[in-house]
């Protein structure tokens, strides 16, 4: 009986010793909380709570254009991304909204004397080219790749960290654009060299066309929950420019040749929410 008890006690001690030593043999690092910088520099961001791997990512945004000169864009955008691993995703980007002319166009037409409300005689009596970069983006749909190399976290004053991703994306597809003539009237100028109906946008020529479109951009995802995130993106939508050259501005009907040179840019700021499914 005594021998039996001693044998059990010895076996228990051996098991305890084995359990104590086993972790150090199997990899003791995994058992200790990683250091975050006080003792040695960490190799990575510790305690990542969120993963993109194999997930579908849907983003809904309000989109507005930056650096507006002659045109502007306000609308909504949708992104759908299917992750392939943690870093890459197939990126589908769609945007639609109002592509309009800015007040600067109204001022240019007024100063040129095309607007009949301007008491001065119009000055557009020569032959020349209309203004470039007057294509207003109405809608675009593109497919591309998204690359998410950065995972991080930042601390607000509350000391609670906010986890985030930074990503870049690029794609190709189609852009539906309204190409506007800024100085070319729908009809021939009147006796005062004013554009008949030139106080309204319908007095000038415009054309809606579908062109090949590209986009490059980047964004920030601020995680709220495993499902929800706040999203901020910048996407520069590019498409071939088009405008009229050799226009007889005084008698524009039947004159002018369509010139395609250069690329128009519509940089969009996208603010919205994302869903990780």
């Amino acid at each position: 009986m005594r021998t039996n008890t001693n044998a059990r006690r010895g076996l228990g001690m051996l098991l305890s010793l084995a359990l104590a030593l086993l972790p150090s043999v199997a990899g003791a690092k995994s058992l200790l909380p990683p250091d975050e910088g006080f003792m040695k520099e960490p190799k990575s961001v510790a305690y990542r709570l969120y993963s993109l791997s194999s997930k579908s990512d849907i983003g809904l945004y309000y989109a507005l254009s930056m650096k507006n000169k002659l045109t502007q864009h306000n609308g909504g955008a949708l992104t759908f991304d299917q992750q392939i691993g943690e870093y890459f995703a197939i990126d589908v980007f769609a945007d639609a909204g109002a592509g309009t002319l800015t007040n600067l166009v109204t001022n240019i037409r007024f100063e040129a004397g095309l607007d009949p409300t301007n008491p001065s005689r119009g000055r557009m009596t020569t032959t020349g080219s209309d203004l470039a970069d007057a294509g207003a983006l109405i809608a675009t749909g593109q497919v591309g790749l998204r690359f998410t190399p950065i995972y991080g976290k930042m601390s607000l004053s509350s000391e609670l960290p906010v986890h985030f991703n930074f990503y870049v994306a690029a794609g190709v597809g189609a852009a539906y654009v309204q190409f506007n003539d800024i100085l070319t009237c729908q009809s021939n100028l009147d006796g005062n060299n004013h554009c008949p109906g030139g106080s309204s946008p319908s007095g000038y020529r415009s054309q809606n066309l579908t062109k090949v479109g590209f986009n490059v951009g980047g964004g920030l995802r601020l995680y709220i929950t495993q499902l929800l995130s706040l999203r901020v993106e910048v996407r520069d939508v590019l498409f071939p420019d088009q405008y009229l050259a050799d226009v007889n501005f005084k008698s524009p009907v039947g004159t002018g040749t369509v010139t395609s040179s250069g690329v128009s840019q519509t940089p969009l700021v996208l603010l919205g929410i994302g869903f990780l499914l």
Binding site: S16, L17, L19, A20, L22, P23, A28, S30, L31, L32, P33, E36, G37, F38, E41, P42, K43, S44, V45, A46, Y47, L49, M66, K67, N68, K69, Y87, L104, I108, E111, A112, R123, G128, S129, D130, L131, A132, D133, P149, I150, Y151, G152, K153, M154, S155, L156, S157, E159, L160, P161, V162, F164, F166, I182, L183, I224, T225, Q226, L227, L228
Partner: protein, 339 residues
């Protein structure tokens, strides 16, 4: 040998002599022994000895356990954060983000930056600047700085579209250029963090906002360059303007001493233009007509490259008084040295 029992002992003896009472007592003992085993919160954990593996461990672990949890409860998600509650139950892990070991407090920071105007409708500017900051506190700094704009001109849109095609030019006040600006201000950096580029390393960063007041020397472009004659752009001085600066930026630390800053800086100034090269519209009219007797002494005629052509343009710019509040948004990229 006889012994004398107390009344209580006698009562207990009589009670335990009953078989049913003995069985009940044994059952109670077994239950008491079994309870600690059931309360073990970590199924599969070593019974004794060794280290406890940290799996979903918080950086600051929860202080207490709220009792046994089922597997379903352990998988339950927090309704706000959406993260697993774990075996600690509804008590939340406080997930503290530890600051980097190097402190900014008490340090000087010198920055060399390149500035690129990003919202230029009528103008384009590229500058080189120097900033000095003293970090009085970890999240507060003050300092001085300035930028010299080595490239400043009307934009391609102004020169190629408005001037060449539409025969128009922007109002003077909307197309002012900065020669240089100097400022003094402060900076707050309430947000700090870190990110990983893949898994190859960690970069510590801080987000900051700043504000400053200063002075800028301004000018306006009179004529675009003429490639036929080889003449460059001509400019006219429009004087000093007080400026306000607001910036939002991102400071990435690569070592104890070196950091990279990326910021958006808004330089805000009122651009009421009354004179060009010290000349009023009347001075310029007199100058271009050759009537030098009606030109004020403050008018620097020699500053015009071509008194006739530049004088006429300057007169056109001043004859319609204009004022505007300009926001020059610039993207600044700076290399900082902290010591």
């Amino acid at each position: 040998m006889s012994s004398r029992l107390s009344p209580v002992d006698t009562a207990l003896k009589n009670l335990l002599s009953h078989p049913a009472a003995r069985a009940a007592l044994l059952a109670c003992g077994a239950l008491v022994l079994a309870l600690p085993a059931q309360a073990d919160p970590t199924p599969g954990a070593p019974a004794s000895g060794g280290l406890t593996p940290v799996t979903a461990a918080p950086e600051v672990p929860a202080a207490r356990s709220s009792g046994p949890k089922t597997a379903a409860q352990a998988e339950a998600l927090d309704p706000i954060l959406g993260v697993k509650l774990g075996t600690s139950g509804p008590r939340q892990y406080v997930h503290v983000l530890i600051r980097r070991k190097e402190r900014d407090e008490g340090k000087n920071e010198f920055s060399l930056n390149e500035s690129l105007q990003v919202n230029g409708k009528f103008t384009d500017q590229i500058g080189t600047g120097v900033d000095w900051l003293y970090h009085l506190r970890e999240a507060f700094a003050f300092g001085l700085g300035g930028t010299w704009y080595e490239y400043r001109a009307d934009s391609a849109f102004t020169e190629d579209e408005l001037v060449t095609k539409a025969k128009q030019q922007p109002y003077t006040a909307s197309a002012l250029l900065m020669n240089w600006e100097a400022h003094a201000g402060f900076e707050l950096s309430p947000i700090y963090g870190k990110f990983a580029w893949f898994n190859s390393g960690v970069v510590q960063f801080g987000l900051y906002v700043g504000s400053a007041l200063g002075l800028a020397s301004t000018e306006v472009e009179l004529r675009p360059a003429d490639p036929n004659t080889g003449r460059g752009r001509t400019f006219g001085d429009t004087g000093f303007k007080p400026v306000g600066l607001f910036d939002v930026g991102y400071r990435m630390f690569f070592s104890e001493h070196w950091a990279l800053r990326a910021e958006i800086r808004d330089t805000l100034f009122s651009s009421d233009v009354q004179t060009i090269n010290g000349c009023t519209a009347n001075d310029l009219q007199a100058m271009t007509s050759g009537d030098t007797s009606h030109i004020a002494a403050t008018c620097n005629q020699n500053a015009f490259l071509d008194k006739q052509a530049d004088g006429n343009t300057a007169h056109d710019l001043l004859k319609d008084p204009s004022s505007d509040v300009l926001n020059d948004f610039a993207f600044n990229l700076a290399l900082s040295f902290l010591f």
